[in-house]
Subunit: 145 residues, 2 copies
């Protein structure tokens, strides 16, 4: 086989047969989610936001409200959880399901639970992760409670 | 190039350069959504459900409730919209955004609005479509209001 052809075939071949590649992708995605939970529980919203695509194209759906862009999503979190009389509480994710959609996208489903002083809100989330030059990032988040 | 290699390279090549392929995929997906709205507005839940993957693996998230499987999802719709004192009303989708994730998956975001006699519920949805042997189908639906 000519080297050029071998090169063209490589990514697909690695992916199709690559149990190791898939395991690495799942591990990277779970690592992002673990880092988000740890950051939240330290009260560090900027570190929590590192899991999201830093782009105007990031989309965040909650209830019937759309938020567009990384900065607007951070601002929304700040207002909701660091505003006057608000608290971040303790966050936990459970029932995580990471479903790889080809080599560069993943669907992640799970449940979120927040322990606040007077309330324990929780619900479901659907995340779409994309493999970007800097690593896997959430490009779309739909959360409901 | 040997015929076998040409064949192996074909799907990726078609996809990478295939504006026509992508347009066809988008059109097929929009066709499914249009058919769902038309079916709903005729009161035909079974036809509406034809847009979903007929599998135990179908997942449907609404608020904080998970429903698993095609039949359970149909049963949920029947109970909510065809039960005693219930009505299906008139459904409309808007703000549709079809984002192809490679050749075989798509992320679809949009807003739903239902006109009932005494209420007009609405909200957002995130759908993941997969290209299956029978065509594009919704494999995951997250809806919130």
């Amino acid at each position: 086989m000519r080297p050029l052809l071998a090169l063209l075939l490589l990514p697909g071949a690695l992916w199709a047969g690559g149990g190791g590649e898939k395991a690495d992708a799942r591990k990277a995605i779970r690592g992002i989610l673990d880092a988000q939970v740890a950051a939240w529980n330290k009260g560090d919203l900027e570190a929590f936001m590192a899991g999201y695509w830093k782009s105007e194209e990031l989309s965040f759906f909650s209830g019937k409200t759309k938020t567009k862009g990384w900065q607007a999503t951070l601002d929304r979190y700040r207002k909701r959880y660091q505003g006057e009389g608000r608290e971040m509480g303790k966050l936990a994710f459970s029932e995580l399901d990471v479903d790889l959609l080809g080599a560069d996208n993943a669907l992640v489903r799970g449940r979120w639970q927040l322990a606040l002083k007077k309330d324990n809100p929780g619900g479901l989330f659907t995340l779409v992760f994309r493999r970007l030059p800097g690593g896997w990032r959430i490009v779309h988040d739909h959360t409901s409670s």
